[in-house]
Point group: C2
Chain length 181, copies 2
Amino acid sequence: MTDDLGAIRCQVWQLLQEGASDRTSAARHIVLATVGRTGGAEARTVILRRAQQRIAALEFHTDRASEKVAEIEIHPYGTVLLWEPETALQVRLRVMLSVRKGTEAEWGRIPAPSRFAYGGQPPSGQRIVNPGAVSLLQEPERFAVIEARIEEIETLHLATQPHRRALFRRADDFTGAWLAP
Amino acid sequence: MTDDLGAIRCQVWQLLQEGASDRTSAARHIVLATVGRTGGAEARTVILRRAQQRIAALEFHTDRASEKVAEIEIHPYGTVLLWEPETALQVRLRVMLSVRKGTEAEWGRIPAPSRFAYGGQPPSGQRIVNPGAVSLLQEPERFAVIEARIEEIETLHLATQPHRRALFRRADDFTGAWLAP
């Protein structure tokens, strides 16, 4: 299967769809790397909320006041990284990022205790004098959705020797090509 | 323990030292994010090879011909990210990266089968016609060490409510301060 480009592409989308729907999936918590406001690379773990193969796009939820929103508005090109231990598969997705306001329907589907992730004072990353010096608030106007349009999918299977590296580009309709590992 | 800055700093260094010495550690495979040659953020999983608290620095091994070496030579500021599931701790390390030639002593400590990671034609990332169209070679002159000088350690503990976020900066001798989570 690691020698069939179509099967690899299928495996990636199965993994992403599983991540978006199953809390125990290896693709639930994935890494989002962006370019920081001072020019270096930043990375953090995010939760995969939606994966749509038809338009090759992913969605994450975030607080509008978070640093990554400010970063994306300046530098929209980033990478989403995930690792699937069972088949020793690394997936790198080169993405174009944008941020939109979350809809009322999306807000309605968030469990009540989780809504504190969107809001609060002071906003994330500000200095505070002790860890309790924060007000937890649910602020729907700070609930935002990061949309990641996938430009390239790069896979690396480590279970075979030589390793298998493949690249699927939007510009080629994600048909796929082999790269030296 | 998540309310004691000194204890958190200690936990981070224990985790990093364990990652550098123990193949089964959560900190063995960590994420290195860099700025790519076309200006977007890149990320990949790397193996932590060395962690030195005294100088607050980490080391990774790489093929001199790899894309990340070219990226680091242009944009040296990156992030190292790790996630420790047992205590629900995310660690973000903002680092200044540099690349040096591996020493003969370092090469000598690499198990023989692993030496194929340093060398081979064509180099990683070049187009090939099928996954077998690569020559595996051990080339000590392509064995390089990435040094990561830690400028900032940012921790986020998710197990408590409110979450605990702290920042330790080299400029402050890593004494630590609280940030809004």
